[in-house]
């Protein structure tokens, strides 16, 4: 265990993250980059950008609360130190996505109202299941919920959004690419650390599996709300703006309906969960579909 944790030291994090892929960035993107004009000039697309960004802020706030809360529950010093870097990563994500809301024109004095108005209730329930485990200082369930389920979800969502924005919105794509690099590290820690703990605490498996099933249901419900009520694709068609022909797991996102995109994202995330959970000795539980 000591050898694997040495790959997650703060020294390594400093070299790869602040002194690596974040060098010369400002709020996660290159200095001077701006959102495309269409996001400011079209009401439907502008509101959708704000709604989407609010979900990112809500998810990252949950991750910040969970990773900081898990430090005191961690059974060893090296895990505490890794979680210290994850805490700062998550706070950075909160900051860069909050800054995107400001860039989109949200005033500082209306931030709380905007977040309350657009936060998806199913995403809030997803977060509550995880934070309940963290509050109980349940390290195993907390790390599975945080570093495998939540981070696995974030990883795929960010990858899909990155694919959609790479050609259309370099500013947002750059912001996302830094967060994806962070999430990859967090998922790696979760898989490596939990495998050995599950072996020594097999009695935790059923509880953790139930948590994964519950969290997965609310994740799917969040996707359903997000895609089925999304008007951006129809609005782009209406105003004659083409969508980006971006590849995501072998499919062209530019020709898919929102419902097809929802199905693709859900299948991608659930498949990832299954692979990762099996790797650490936890049996994946299929959630019901909303």
């Amino acid at each position: 265990m000591a050898d694997f944790l040495s790959a997650y030291s703060i020294q390594r994090w400093l070299e790869s993250c602040p002194q690596g892929y974040l060098v010369n960035t400002e709020y996660g993107h290159e200095t001077g980059e701006e959102e495309p004009e269409l996001l400011y000039s079209n009401e439907v697309i502008h509101e959708d950008a704000i709604r989407t960004t609010v979900q990112l802020v809500v998810g990252e706030r949950c991750a910040l609360a969970a990773s900081s809360g898990l430090i005191n529950a961690a059974p060893d010093e090296a895990s505490k130190r890794f979680l210290a870097t994850q805490t700062l990563d998550e706070a950075r994500h909160v900051e860069v996505f909050t800054q995107r809301l400001y860039d989109l024109g949200v005033r500082k004095d209306e931030l709380t109202d905007v977040i309350n108005r657009y936060a998806n209730p199913n995403l809030v329930k997803f977060a509550e299941i995880l934070l309940e485990k963290v509050d109980k200082k349940d390290f195993i369930a907390g790390v599975v919920g945080q570093n495998i389920v939540l981070e696995g979800l974030a990883f795929s969502v960010f990858e899909m959004m990155h694919a959609m924005n790479a050609d259309m919105n370099a500013k947002f794509a750059h912001t996302l690419s830094g967060t994806i690099a962070d999430e990859r590290r967090h998922v790696g820690f979760g898989e490596n650390r939990i495998g050995s703990l599950i072996k020594t605490h097999p009695e935790k498996k059923s509880e953790v599996e139930r948590m994964q099933k519950d969290m997965s249901y609310f994740m799917l419900a969040t996707f359903a709300d997000g895609f089925r009520n999304n008007e951006t694709a129809a609005e782009l068609d209406r105003i004659g703006e083409g969508r980006a022909h971006a590849d995501f797991h072998g499919k062209d996102l530019g020709v898919m309906s929102p419902e097809e995109m929802e199905g693709l994202l859900a299948d991608t995330v659930l498949k990832e969960f299954k692979v990762r959970l099996e790797r650490v000795g936890i049996e994946y539980q299929t959630p019901s579909r909303p």
């Binding site: 030291s9 703060i10 020294q11 400093l14 602040p18 002194q19 974040l22 400002e26 709020y27 996001l39 400011y40 000039s41 009401e43 502008h46 910040l64 609360a65 900081s68 809360g69 430090i71 005191n72 060893d76 010093e77 505490k80 130190r81 979680l83 210290a84 870097t85 805490t87 700062l88 998550e90 706070a91 950075r92 909160v94 900051e95 909050t98 400001y102 860039d103 989109l104 024109g105 949200v106 005033r107 500082k108």
Partner: protein
């Protein structure tokens, strides 16, 4: 129609309005710029080519005891600051505290690394063996305050008392330490300065408006001062400070706490 956000400000941050000043100094971006300046090129807290001079056995033993107790203090600070994120009253404080969590984790890591460099095979066991009783009591009390979700008392214990103690001890120790330990301490001190600033600012604004809070915090100070002064005495002995220097450190610590108007 949507409007664009105003352009971010530039220039001296001290010219900013109070709220905007807090937005700047409590941000990840501010931390990022700050640590880039003084951590760049360091490995485990020091320049890789700094000569690691061999110590005579008695000095090495004393340094190991001192570093073990620094690790206890930094673990308290890591667990305290991470616990404080959950009860922080606003987003800016949460983000600042997350930068502090990473700082404290780094401090713990560089001190543990220094112990290994000095030949300590199992630093965790050595820390447990050499931990000062008064520092462990302080840590327990700090974590009780955090667990009770008492923001003012916990931020006082963590970012004023503990950070001030570390600041005065590390500053004094860095003056006479071996070159590697001195470099490690100097970078840590720069972080501590930021943490104390946050504590004084956050608490100062609250205490100015609330005589009740001031009396309550003064009571907590009374409870914690003797633990801090006991720790200071023990550590001063291990660092090899003479009596007058030890007394001076005690006064510096007391003055830094009294800056908040909390007289004994």
């Amino acid at each position: 129609m949507p409007v664009r956000a105003p352009e971010p400000s530039s220039g001296d941050i001290h010219d900013l309005e109070p709220q905007q000043f807090l937005e700047e100094v409590h941000s990840f971006e501010f931390w990022f710029q700050a640590v880039e300046g003084y951590l760049s090129g360091l490995t485990w807290g020091h320049r890789p080519d700094t000569p690691d001079e061999p110590l005579v056995p008695a000095d090495r033993e004393r340094l190991i005891s001192v570093l073990c107790n620094y690790c206890v203090g930094e673990t308290a600070a890591l667990e305290g600051s991470s616990g404080l994120i959950a009860i922080a009253p606003n987003r800016l404080s949460k983000i600042f505290l997350s930068t502090q969590v990473a700082d404290e984790g780094r401090h713990l890591e560089v001190f543990v690394r220094r112990l290994r460099d000095l030949g300590v095979a199992d630093p965790e066991a050595e820390i447990e063996r050499r931990a000062s009783r008064s520092l462990l009591l302080f840590k327990r009390r700090l974590l009780e305050l955090v667990a009770s979700k008492d923001w003012e008392a916990a931020i006082f214990a963590q970012n004023v008392i503990l950070e001030s103690l570390e600041f005065v001890v590390f500053t004094s120790h860095a003056e006479d330490a071996d070159p590697v330990t001195a470099e490690v301490l100097k970078a840590v001190i720069k972080d501590e300065r930021r943490h104390i600033g946050f504590g004084e600012n956050e608490l100062g604004r609250r205490l100015a408006d609330s005589p009740h809070s001031r009396a309550r915090i003064a009571q907590i100070r009374k409870e914690l001062d003797h633990l801090v002064l006991d720790t200071l005495e023990e550590t001063s002995g291990n660092i090899g400070l003479d009596r007058s220097e030890h007394d001076r450190l005690g006064r510096v610590y007391l003055e830094s706490v009294e800056r908040l108007g909390l007289l004994r």
